[in-house]
């Protein structure tokens, strides 16, 4: 999975959509996401030097076409100018820390799962 951004840019927004493959109950995953802390880490592929650690991600949702459909959540991260100063190839990792009702951490999910997310600063 490749994401491209120009050197020194803050746009485009990095946006990840949860795969709706029909095998998982999306509504219960949404419930978990609503009470979670989501962070973004990025490190250089060659040197493995971290560039971003614990960057705060946001959740967004798209306008539903039909009221009865389940909400579709996206995880977004906006880069700062400082974070895109050096061109190169980086790997990105999103960590979802699920919380209980006392905001204590429970399970943790690291995405993407099947393939790596590469960020290309050009």
């Amino acid at each position: 999975m490749e994401f491209f951004i120009r050197k020194g840019s803050t746009d485009p927004l990095l946006k990840l959509r949860l795969v709706d493959d029909g095998r998982n109950d999306k509504s219960s995953l949404n419930d978990l996401l609503e009470n979670s802390d989501i962070t973004f880490d990025m490190f250089e592929v060659e040197t493995e030097v971290p560039i971003i650690l614990g960057g705060v991600c946001n959740l967004t949702t798209r306008n539903k076409k039909y009221d009865q459909t389940t909400d579709e959540y996206y995880i977004t991260y906006r880069f700062t100018e400082d974070q895109t100063l050096e061109s190169g190839k980086y790997e990105g990792v999103v960590t979802i820390q699920f919380l209980d009702t006392d905001l204590l951490p429970t399970e943790k999910l690291i995405v993407p799962i099947k393939e790596k997310l590469f960020i290309n600063i050009i």
């Binding site: 949404n30 609503e34 009221d67 909400d71 006392d102």
Partner: protein, 312 residues
């Protein structure tokens, strides 16, 4: 030199959109709890709309900011009521009442007295029952100073136009009508005014599915409770004083399940005729609540702010 703008002949603000002033005044907030009023009438004499919709299109949101002032949970009691006041006849208050309150062990409890029915031996048999639920215990840190409670009902179905009153709405309750004009007026041939009789019946029970949705409760912008297939309360014209919205306390009647007045300070109350989703609730908390009130999160983030430079 003053700027004079003339030529306008129409009052741009419609009477029905105002909740104050001589046009459509609302009962004033008193220094006593609960602050209760009838939603179907204003204190004025003109013909204004309902203060709030009798049944919103998709659902509603309640938002509160409380301060406990170190009082125990036992004085929390009922903090919101919606429905019929001081009614003691079961068939009149059933499906016509809802309250939220704090329990003595620090949870939020909702209460409703409901109606149901089923066919037994080819005849329709009515039943009544007390329905309730509780959240987990609210975290101690997050409720130690000001704290924000948001309650959202999101109906599965969005009803628009005539569906609002027909799809599981109050038209299913209508079993007849009475003419309210004086007899002389009726005999004179003038237009008759009708008042519809609303009663619980099989049609109402059959359309229960159209009233179901999800009830969610949030503490400081984070979800703590969710129940699916929760039946909404549509206030109906049954009983002593229907259409009551009460903030800070409950009411007598309704089987005694809504009695009590909260001892906690209510710093802000809001009623929104839309169900906010989890992201909107969180956004509202971050933008409009957290900066304005003295709120401690359930688990404050550990942030080091006095980092000394390393030296041998």
């Amino acid at each position: 030199m003053p700027l004079d703008i003339t030529g306008f002949t129409t009052n741009l603000i419609e009477c029905s959109s105002k909740l104050a002033g001589d046009c459509c005044p609302i009962d004033s907030t008193l220094d006593v709890r609960p602050w209760a009023y009838e939603i179907n009438k204003h204190a004025g004499t003109d013909l204004c709309d309902y203060i709030i919709e009798r049944r919103p299109e998709k659902g509603w949101t309640l938002d509160f900011v409380f301060n406990r002032e170190e009082l125990p949970w036992s004085v929390g009691s009922v903090f919101y009521f919606f429905g019929v006041r001081d009614e003691y006849t079961q068939s009149l208050y059933a499906d016509n009442n809802l309250s939220f309150g704090f329990t003595s062990d620090g949870k939020i409890k909702w209460n409703a007295y409901r109606y149901s029915g089923s066919c037994v031996n080819e005849s329709y048999k009515e039943t009544f029952y007390h329905d309730s639920g509780v959240t987990p215990i609210l975290c101690e840190n997050g409720t130690s100073k000001d704290f924000n409670i948001t309650i959202v009902f999101d109906r599965h179905l969005r009803h628009t136009e005539c569906e609002i009153e027909n799809a599981g709405g109050w038209n299913d309750l209508i079993t007849g009508s009475t003419i309210t004009n004086p007899r002389a007026v009726t005999l004179s041939g003038a237009t008759e005014n009708y008042q519809y009789i609303e009663e619980l019946n099989k049609d109402w029970n059959d359309e229960r599915y159209a009233r179901l949705g999800i009830l969610k409760i949030y503490l400081n912008g984070r979800p703590i409770y969710k129940i699916d297939n929760w039946e909404e309360i549509i206030p109906s014209n049954r009983g002593f004083q229907p259409f009551i919205q009460s903030w800070g306390g409950g009411t007598t009647g309704s089987g005694g399940i809504h009695q009590g007045v909260t001892g906690f300070n209510l710093k802000r109350i809001k009623y929104i005729e839309e169900p906010l989703n989890a992201l909107e609730v969180r956004h509202h908390y971050i933008v409009s609540t957290k900066p304005r009130y003295d709120i401690i999160e359930c688990q404050e983030k550990c942030e080091e702010n006095n980092i000394e430079p390393f030296s041998d």
